[in-house]
Amino acid sequence: MEKKSIWKKITGSREASLVIVLVLLCILVTIKNPAFLTVQNFMEILKNNAVIMIMALGMLCVLLTGGIDISITSTLALAGMTVGMLYKYNVIESTLLGFVIAIAIGTLCGLIIGLIIAKGKVIPIIATMGFMYIYRGLAYLVAQDQWAGADALGRFKDFALESYLGFGVLNNVIVITILCYIVFFILMKWTKFGRNIYAVGSNEEAAQISGINVSNVKIAVYTIMGALAGLCGALATSIYASAQPNMQTSKEMDVIAACVIGGVSMKGGRGSVICALLGALVLSVIGKALPLVGIDAIAQNTIKGVIIIVVIVLNVLTQRMMDKANLAKREI
């Protein structure tokens, strides 16, 4: 009896089908190229996609309220470029300070967006489109037609190479990613604030009537998104040992795609941290696998698109099958 109910619990969840799809994807790639299935390879995947994975958490919150934020990579570039220039001109040296400054810039950027959307009642896609240009433009202004390369970044780039946060086993970047996921898992599942986000996205009016300050929740989600984008600006600068004003341009689509693949509803109210994680992992695995399995470079983008569509369709189908099976069991 006990066993059955656990099985039911697993198959009943929205995320289970995606896990199956993800495992299938990994098996297929491994058959084509056994080198895929190594610990080092998965560490590389996590590190090279940390930025997308972390920003997917913020995007989850934004999407849950029924909003969207397409300015995130501009915020990332502004924060990353600013920190890069500070190191380049030896204004700061401490790695921690770099992160603090980047997060502070991101938070401020997000707060402004949140205020415009919540208090100014501007449609999120329009507001964030405006800020996409503003923040990207500011990043260019900060850069003054320069890049901050490996030589200019000094000790800061070593952060992404070392693993002192992971007790010498896990890379620092991966530790930060995992920490973010733990914090957000708790935040979304077991706190009042997390439930408020869901409430606003499910039914804004009902949330308002039941005493939730809707505009504050909205300001908060865009601020959180900004803070994460700022963090990722510092991370990307450290991982790639290079800050460029056009950093991660158009990667916001990957972040949104990660959430959507994971099953987060773009209408708001539906989705979880696990959804964001699985969606981001699917995209990361595809990105890593395509060059490994020897698909012609010119065809890679097409294949990537096809895989994304197949994953989404498979996910919907497996979920439907599970729902049906569970329903059938209930009838018996």
Binding site: Y140, D145, W147, S242, G287
Partner: protein, 347 residues
């Protein structure tokens, strides 16, 4: 009703033209008939140190010759953004446009429109098709670069073994021309018979994707000896991957000294023994002198013509590989441990 609508549209169109004429910010709108001539440079995109140095050289040369430089950086590295810039330059009535093209063919309509307005057109760095330009200012001949890179690969592999290329996008005209030239050079000389090009990977000039493809090369080809990356973003990303992993694979290609300083060295701790690039300041200056020669009538862009490029000396216009004409700046410049410290602060 129809008339009213037409009037409204016309008014709107007039207002738009006026606005477009005022656009461009820092540029003095000068007619071609009076005073100093205006020479425009359109770079690939804003915020790239290479483009900035190119613009600096262009500006210096134009000012030295008593002209007015107009430097325009499109907001994105796309043909669309450049078309917008070209159209605003046409309405500003500049005398010449020197452009580093983001797409070989997509700019043709806009540039032909400029040509019809009496504006002299040359391309610099990355070319436009022959119908769109009078002459191309080439940083280094395609074959000179191909030869340089092949020799570097030959040297670093020790004359035999596997090597791979990490390029930018699969549509980048200059990248493809260099890669094609490298393949031809290798096929044409038995000296290179033992070099095996295993793959041309595309990193799309994104650090993230370039990292993925470089790691995939290392995984897929355990016997790989050398990676050649003829693109600034790709070479920096590949250098970082190789150096961080302590890989024995060596790197060469075309890169920016300031970005690559950390990775250039002869010992095992550095991934790139040496690499090449041209001097973007000189490239910008030659672009300026070519524009001036075209406007003055000293040159028309026909093969065989010679003109004096200020203090850079005399240059000859030659037939280019695509059937048009070009001016070649010179052989690429080699950056190695002996000069990288000096150059990393330049660009």
């Amino acid at each position: 009703m129809k008339k009213k609508l037409l009037g409204l549209l016309l008014t709107a169109a007039m207002a738009a033209t006026l606005l477009a004429g005022c656009g461009g910010g820092d540029t003095p709108a000068s007619g071609s008939s009076t005073g100093a001539k205006t020479y425009a440079l359109v770079t690939k995109s804003a915020g790239n140190p290479f483009n900035e140095k190119e613009a600096e050289g262009f500006k210096q040369a134009v000012e030295a010759m008593g002209g007015t430089p107009v430097i325009q950086h499109p907001e994105a590295a796309t043909a669309d953004a450049q078309i917008t810039v070209i159209q605003s330059l046409i309405s500003q009535k500049v005398d010449s446009i020197c452009i580093a093209a983001n797409d070989e063919n997509a700019l043709q309509a806009a540039l032909e429109e400029a040509k019809a307005a009496g504006i002299k057109i040359c391309s610099v760095d990355s070319t436009v098709n022959t119908a769109s330009r009078q002459v191309h200012v080439n940083q280094a001949g395609v074959n000179e670069i191909g030869q340089c890179l092949v020799d570097a690969v030959y040297d670093l592999t020790g004359g035999e073994g596997q090597w791979a290329i990490v390029s930018a996008t699969s549509q980048a005209a200059n990248q493809n021309a260099w890669i094609e030239s490298m393949k031809e050079i290798i096929a044409s000389d038995s000296k290179y018979a033992n070099l095996e090009l295993v793959e041309v990977a595309y990193g799309d000039d994104e650090p993230q994707k370039s990292t993925d493809v470089t790691q995939a090369l290392l995984t897929n080809y355990p016997d790989l000896k050398v990676i050649c990356a003829p693109t600034t973003v790709g070479i920096a990303a590949a250098a970082k991957v190789l150096q961080d992993q302590g890989s024995s694979v060596k790197l060469t290609g075309l890169g920016l000294p300031s970005e690559m300083a950390e990775y250039i060295g002869d010992d095992d701790a550095h991934s790139c023994p040496y690499m090449f690039l041209w001097n973007p300041i000189d490239l910008g200056r030659l672009g300026a002198y070519t524009s001036i020669a075209l406007v003055n009538g000293d040159a028309t862009g026909a093969a065989g013509e010679k003109f004096t490029a200020g203090d850079m000396g005399e240059y000859e216009i030659v037939t280019a590989g695509d059937g048009g004409t070009e001016i070649i700046l010179g052989a690429p410049f080699k950056f190695d441990p002996s000069n990288i410290e000096e150059w990393k602060s330049v660009y």
